[in-house]
């Protein structure tokens, strides 16, 4: 017990043991010119400390020792000093390499990610984790920014002898050392200020940029490239940890910015500054327009005359000048808030929807790494992991499929960005064009099976972040394949054609996309973005493809079942191939018929996106309009345009809250910036929609009531066309 009556949070005996060990480890003194001198039994001390961590903390599920070590500044004061004292030319020194390894063995558990799983946390966890989270930030800062030596590089040197051996010759110990090193790098990449904590030091020292710069300077990128490019040959089980490291490096990085030229970057930065200043000025102007012109105690009071000789009084000038603002003021004074649910999105280290910005230097380094990785590491690494996921290997944890799909999506987009970059660089001759072989490993049939299965499973289990990653992956595959089909190389075209045919062949895929879009509810903005992006691109590419391929056929489940049932009734075994063979007798008239049917089918498919659920999803997405990028706004615009004018079901948009949103986007307050590129097309669209809405309301007065509600499908059809759907006969 301390003098001020507070109790120590750690058992004093434990603290005494641990700190005496830390003291015995070594230290620096004036008579040694400030150099760090190892204690006599340093190696034994390190091993004892490790034992303490293992036998006390781990076994009893506490964080006491870790807390003592954080308080005694073991990492910055001792471990890093010891590692720094192992110069590059002394690789042969057995004693020193042993000690370095022992340091690494301590660093890994100390930097290990702290789980915030509420169910498994004890009182002790609640007591220590906040402190340790801050301590880990300190560890990262001192490791990444250590002046005396390249700490990460030194860690790599510990594992080099093990890595140099052939995969078959390695002992379990060697494998363990490699793993230890990779986990260390993973931990360093992963440590970031927790979402609810304000870090008090210099953020720049532990930011993503600092990590990337350190990884470049200390040759960690080289290590990652080596490992991933020889995955499956020299390395095997390390694939998921390498993936983990890469995930924590690139999550949230904006690809477009990554592949901008340096000159362009600085240009775009000035442009951005100018643009943002303009936006701010426009915003202020719109506030100014509504700001009071007199002092705040001027005390104007107005009333609105309502029906039944009722009056509503409103204070302030606002109501005097115009009724819209009067009503807005009346609304804003109301206090009642209906209960609402919190969103189910992810926050924490696995969240990939949080954008990060990189410094110019870090952007350059990361870009180099990404390009080299695409050239050498992409296929071996992701092919290997995909196989591991498929056979449910033991090392695959719950978070790995999510990381896998996210990374595949990210790198596919990066590859496309790189191609765009190259194309604009210099006029290329057709023979110089690269084929898509660099990313071929994620464009094969096995990958689609894995992806489809993952989407089904995560959708059923309601693990939304996983589903979001899988959807991103699917979108990027679609976009890549579409780009491939426009490639000047004939081989690429043919392959792309094939892939698209396979993707669109399964009706279950169509169903899935439609269902996911329909059922959005409180999953957070990242998920909303993935969903809308997928359905937008899926519809777009499918429409294009079905126009080009007149005889596109779809394997529907119902048909197969019927067939199987018939077979069973006939007493036969169900045939293995459910493929319906239609190649026989396929003449021109038949192809024409298929075209007709298919076109009808696409319309039918697109009609599934006109249901209220999908409209609500896109409305929710659009309600973030002030934060959306032009591409995202375009996506929403295309969708609503399709609903209102292509499918001719504008009625679905005639709901008061939707009209309110559209009106607000154009007319404000806080509307779209009139100078922005998307404003014009939105204005035109909203105008058209409003015009139709009023026309319809005059045609059918009963719409006044229906404007309040989500429409039932049959009602909507009646409102739009004026007759019941059943009376229509399909010719």
């Amino acid at each position: 017990e301390f003098a001020n009556g507070k109790k120590d949070v750690v058992d004093p005996e434990v603290r005494a043991y641990v700190s005496s060990l830390v003291t015995a480890l070594g230290g620096s003194g004036a008579d040694e010119e400030g150099r760090y001198i190892l204690g006599d039994d340093a190696l034994a001390c390190l091993r004892d400390l490790k034992r303490w961590l293992k036998l006390y903390d781990e076994k009893a599920n506490r964080f006491d020792v870790a807390r003592c070590l954080a308080e005694s500044n073991l990492v910055g004061g001792d471990l890093l000093q010891i590692l720094a004292a192992w110069p590059e030319n002394e690789d042969e020194n057995r004693m020193k390499s042993k000690i370095a390894l022992a340091c690494l063995e301590l660093l890994v558990p100390l930097t290990w990610p702290l789980s915030n799983d509420k169910k498994e946390m004890t009182v002790n966890h609640h007591r220590h984790i906040p402190y340790l989270q801050i301590a880990q930030l300190g560890y990262k800062r001192s490791i990444v920014n250590f002046d005396g030596a390249r700490i990460l590089h030194t860690a790599v040197r510990c594992a080099l002898p093990s890595m140099a051996q052939d995969a078959g010759d390695r002992s379990t110990r060697d494998e363990g050392i490699i793993k230890l090193l990779l986990y260390f790098i993973r931990n360093i990449a992963m440590i970031a200020p927790p979402p609810n904590v304000q870090y008090e030091g210099d953020e720049a020292e532990i930011s993503r940029s600092a990590t990337i710069d350190a990884f470049d300077y200390q040759d960690i990128f080289q290590l990652l490239l080596t490992l991933s490019s020889s995955m499956g040959e020299d390395f095997n089980t390390q694939d998921v940890i390498v993936m983990d490291v890469i995930f924590h490096l690139i999550k949230g990085v904006d690809i477009e910015k990554l592949f901008m030229d340096e000159e362009k970057v600085s240009n775009s930065k000035t442009d951005e500054l100018i643009r943002l200043r303009k936006k701010e000025a426009a915003m202020l102007r719109s506030y100014q327009m509504h700001a009071p012109t007199r002092h705040n105690r001027f005390g104007a009071m107005a009333w609105i005359q309502r029906e039944d000789s009722k009056r509503t009084t409103i204070s302030g000038q606002a109501a005097v000048t115009d009724s819209t603002r009067g009503l807005a003021k009346m609304d804003s004074t109301k206090k009642f808030k209906p209960p609402h649910r919190a969103h189910k999105g992810e926050t924490g280290p696995m969240d990939f929807d949080n954008p990060v910005s990189l410094s110019v230097q870090a952007t350059k380094h990361l870009r180099t790494f990404v390009e080299e990785f695409l050239d050498a590491g992409f296929n071996p690494l992701f092919n290997h992991i995909r196989k591991a996921i498929d056979r449910e290997a033991e090392r695959i944890m719950d978070s790995h499929p999510r990381q896998f799909f996210y990374l595949v999506a990210w790198f596919l987009e990066a590859e496309r960005a790189r191609r765009r970059c190259k194309k604009s660089d210099k006029k290329q001759k057709p023979e110089d064009v690269d084929s898509f072989a660099l990313v071929a490993s994620v464009l094969n049939q096995e990958m689609f099976v894995t992806l489809n299965r993952a989407m089904d499973k995560t959708y059923e289990e309601k693990s939304w972040a996983d589903l979001s990653a899988a959807m991103k992956c699917f979108t990027q595959i679609l976009l890549t394949v579409q780009e491939m089909s426009e490639s000047p190389l004939e081989d690429d075209q043919e392959i792309a054609e094939n892939i698209l045919n396979r993707i669109f062949y399964e009706e279950t895929t169509h169903d899935r996309v439609a269902n996911i879009t329909r059922t959005y509810k409180d999953q957070g903005f990242g998920y909303l973005d993935s969903t809308t992006e997928l359905s937008h691109n899926y519809l777009r590419i499918l429409e294009q493809y079905s126009k080009q391929n007149v005889d596109l056929q779809v394997r529907s489940r119902r048909r197969v079942r019927k067939k199987k049932k018939a077979a069973r009734e006939a007493g036969e075994d169900a045939p293995d191939d459910d493929v319906i063979d239609e190649s026989e007798g396929e003449d021109e008239s038949r192809a024409q018929k298929m075209l007709h049917e298919r076109k009808f089918d696409f319309k039918k498919f697109a009609a599934r996106f006109v249901v209220q659920g999908c409209v609500d999803t896109f409305v929710k997405f659009t309600s973030y309009y002030n934060d959306l990028k032009p591409a995202q706004l375009k996506r929403a615009h295309r969708y609503f345009y399709r609903v209102a004018f292509k499918q001719e079901m504008g009625v679905m948009l005639f709901r008061v809250d939707i009209i309110h949103l559209f009106n607000k986007m154009i007319k404000g307050p806080e509307g779209l910036d009139p100078q922005s590129s998307s404003y014009k097309e939105w204005e035109e669209f909203v105008k058209q929609i409003l015009r139709r809405c009023f026309k319809k309301m005059q045609e059918r007065p009963e719409l006044v009531v229906e404007m309040l509600f989500s429409k039932i499908n049959s009602t909507a059809h009646y409102l739009e066309y004026g007759y019941e759907k059943q009376t229509v006969t399909t010719t």
């Binding site: 008061v656 009963e702 404007m707």
Partner: protein
């Protein structure tokens, strides 16, 4: 016993009944309120009398008028909620059985008689 009687006289032993006034029930925006005279019937009546549009070229001012029309109606019906919140609540009520049958009825009222005859 004397002291006891005295105590009784003071009313110490008598049980004091604590009656708490039941809290006033919270006003809810439910289907009954929507279907009452102040609800949708009033909206329909008002729309017939007041809702006029200027038409082409005045889309946005018409939209403002339309939104105000709904806002004032909701403010009369359920004054405590803000406009958008109240809209969401009304929308939710639209999924109730009672509301749905009422909605179908209103729509059928609007249908031309002859076509109903043809269909059935």
């Amino acid at each position: 016993t004397k002291s006891k009687a005295l105590a009784a006289g003071l009313g110490i032993d008598e049980e004091v009944e604590v009656t708490r006034k039941p809290r006033a029930p919270r006003v809810k925006l439910d289907e009954h309120r929507l279907l009452s005279a102040a609800g949708i019937p009033k909206l329909r009546k008002r729309a017939k009398d007041h809702l006029k549009f200027k038409g082409k070229g005045h889309e946005f001012s018409d939209a403002t008028r339309l939104l105000q029309f709904y806002q004032l109606w909701l403010d009369d019906l359920f004054p405590k909620a803000r406009f958008l919140d109240a809209l969401a609540m009304v929308e939710k009520m639209g999924h109730k059985k009672m509301m749905q049958s009422a909605r179908v009825e209103w729509i059928n009222e609007g249908k031309p008689r002859s076509s109903v005859h043809e269909d059935s």
